[in-house]
C-alpha cells in the first residue's frame, strides 16, 4: 500500500525533491501506476505460451546487422543542456 512515507523514501532514492504538499497527490498517481504493474505481474504468461505454443522464437528476433546511428546534432537537438557533444545533467553525489 502506498503512503506519503513511501513517496518520501522513493523521492530520496530517486534523488528528487518532492514538496510535502504534493505528496498526497503523488500517492494517488503512483498507486495507479503500481496497480498497473501488479496487474502485469499477475499475468501468468509462461503457461499461456507453453499451452498454445506461441511466443517469439529465436529466429524471429532481429538479426544482428548494423544500421547507421543518429547524427549527434540531431540526437542532442532537444536536450536542454549540452556541451561538446555530451548531454549535461546535474551531478548526483554518491
Amino acid at each position: 500500500m502506498l503512503d506519503t512515507a513511501l513517496i518520501t523514501y522513493l523521492a530520496e532514492l530517486s534523488k528528487i525533491e518532492v514538496e510535502e504538499a504534493s505528496r498526497p497527490k503523488l500517492v494517488a498517481e503512483m498507486s495507479a501506476i503500481v496497480e498497473l504493474m501488479d496487474t502485469m505481474n499477475d499475468l501468468i504468461l509462461e503457461e499461456d505460451f507453453q499451452k498454445v505454443g506461441e511466443g517469439v522464437h529465436l529466429n524471429n528476433l532481429r538479426t544482428d546487422v548494423c544500421k547507421a546511428s543518429y547524427e549527434r546534432e540531431k540526437l542532442l537537438q532537444n536536450a536542454l543542456y549540452k556541451k561538446d557533444g555530451f548531454f549535461v545533467v546535474p551531478k548526483i553525489m554518491e
Binding site: H57, N60, R62, L75, F86, P90, K91
Partner: protein, 479 residues
Amino acid sequence: MSSYIPVIGLEIHAQLLTQTKIFCSCEVDFGGEQNTRCCPVCAGFPGTLPVLNQEVVKCAIKAGLALGCEINRYSKIDRKNYFYPDLPKAYQISQFDSPVCLSGKVKIEGDKGEKEIRIHHAHIEEDAGKLIHDDIENTSLADYNRCGVPLLEIVSEPDMSSAEEARAYIEKVSGLLQYAGVSLCRMEEGSLRADVNISLKHADAKELGTKVEIKNLNSMKSIVRAIDYEIERQTKLLTTGEPIVQETRKFNDNRGVTVSMRSKEDAHDYRYFKEPDIIPVIITEEDIEKLSKEMPVLIDERMQLYTKEYGLNKADAQIVVNEKGISDFYNDVVMIYPNYKAVANFIVVEILRYVNEGEIQSNHLPFSAEAFATLVKMSEEDIVNKNNAKAILKLMIESQKGPMEIAKEQGYLMNDNTDEIKEVVSSVVSEFTEEVTGYLAGKEKLFGFLMGQCSKRLAGRANPKTIKEILEGELTKLR
C-alpha cells in the same frame, strides 16, 4: 589466525560479442566520439520501442552451455527501475525471474585443491552510459555510446573464500566465454567487470554474516586488492564488536581502500516488472542442439592436450589457456616448431609480460606465429643467446621486423669463429693467472669465473658450449 571465514560471491558482467546493441541496430564498438553510436532507442527517447537482437540470446545460450548451465526454455525480459542519469530511460532492461541460463557450475583450482563454484543464473541486460563528472560546474557530462551494449551478468553462489579463489573463478569464466566465442573479456576495455559480494562468517556459525557489495571492479588487481582490504576491514569491525553495515561500496584504486557509496536498495526497491515492449523468447531443444554444435573447442580440452600430450606443467598450461588469443597463438607456433615447453615458457615469461604491461594485445600480436617460432628455435639452438632472444622480441614488437633480420642488424648471432674464441680464451688464461692457478689446485668454481670473462669479451655472441670446450682444453694443457 582469524576465526572468520570470508564468504565471497561474484557478479560478472561480460559484454557479448555482437555487431549491434541489444535493443537497436547501433554499432557496438569500443571507444568512438561521445554520443555518436546512439539512436532514439538506446538514448531512451519517449515512444521508441526496443527490438531484441537474436545474436544476444544465441551468445547467452552458448555461454550458458560453456558454464554448465541449464538453458531456460522460456526467457522473459524485465524492467529494473533505478534513477541515475547513466541510463536515460530511468530503468534498465534486464531479466529478473526467467533468465536465459539457470544453475551452472565451474571448477577452479581453490585454496585447498580443486573446487566447484556454483552459478546461480546468468541473464542478459543492457549496459549503461558513461558519466564524466565536472566538480567545478557541479554537472555530469553524459555519453550514451555504451547504453544498450549487450551484457551477460553471471551471478555466482557465495562459494569462494579468498581473493585468490575469486581471481581463479574470474579467469576460468573469462576463459570459458572466450573459448565459446561469445565475449572478448577485455577488462581494460570494460568488456568484463565484476561486482563482489563479501561477508565474514564466524568459523562456528551456521548463518552468513552481513553482506557488503563492492561495485564496478574492472581489473584483476583491483578485485584482489578490494577483497583483501574488505576482509581486513570487516575482521577489524567484528573483532572490536562493531556491526557490519549492509551497503554498496566502491574501491578507491589510489588509496587501496573501499568507501561507502549508498545504502543498498534491495530487489524490491527496483520494482522489477515484465517489460511490456518485448515478448518473451521461447528457446527450443533444436535451438540448443544447433548452437551446441557451433561451439568451438573448450578450455578443458586444451588443458588436457597441454598437460597430457605436450607435457606442460599445470601452472604454465593454465596461464596459456586462460586467454584464448594466447592459446590459439601457442597452437599455431607449436605446429611450426613443436618444442612445446620452450614455446610455452617464452610465451608465459616474455609475451605475457608485454601483454600485462599493456604494450601489446593478446589477440592482436604484432608478429606472426612463424616469426615467433623462428625466434624460439634460434634461442633453443644457440643461434642467439637467451638474453639477446628477449631483446630481439622487444625489437620485433617495436619494428615488426623478423628475428633473423634483427639478430644480424644488432650483431646478436652467435660467433662460430673458433679462432677468435681460442684467442680470447688464451688471453683470459694468461691474464687471470691467480684464478687459473686456483682452479688447477682444485677450486672448480673458478671455472665459471673464467667462462664469464670469455663470454664478456666475446660480447655474449659465442656459443657457450664452444667456449667451454676450448677453455677446458686450454686448462687441461696446464695441468
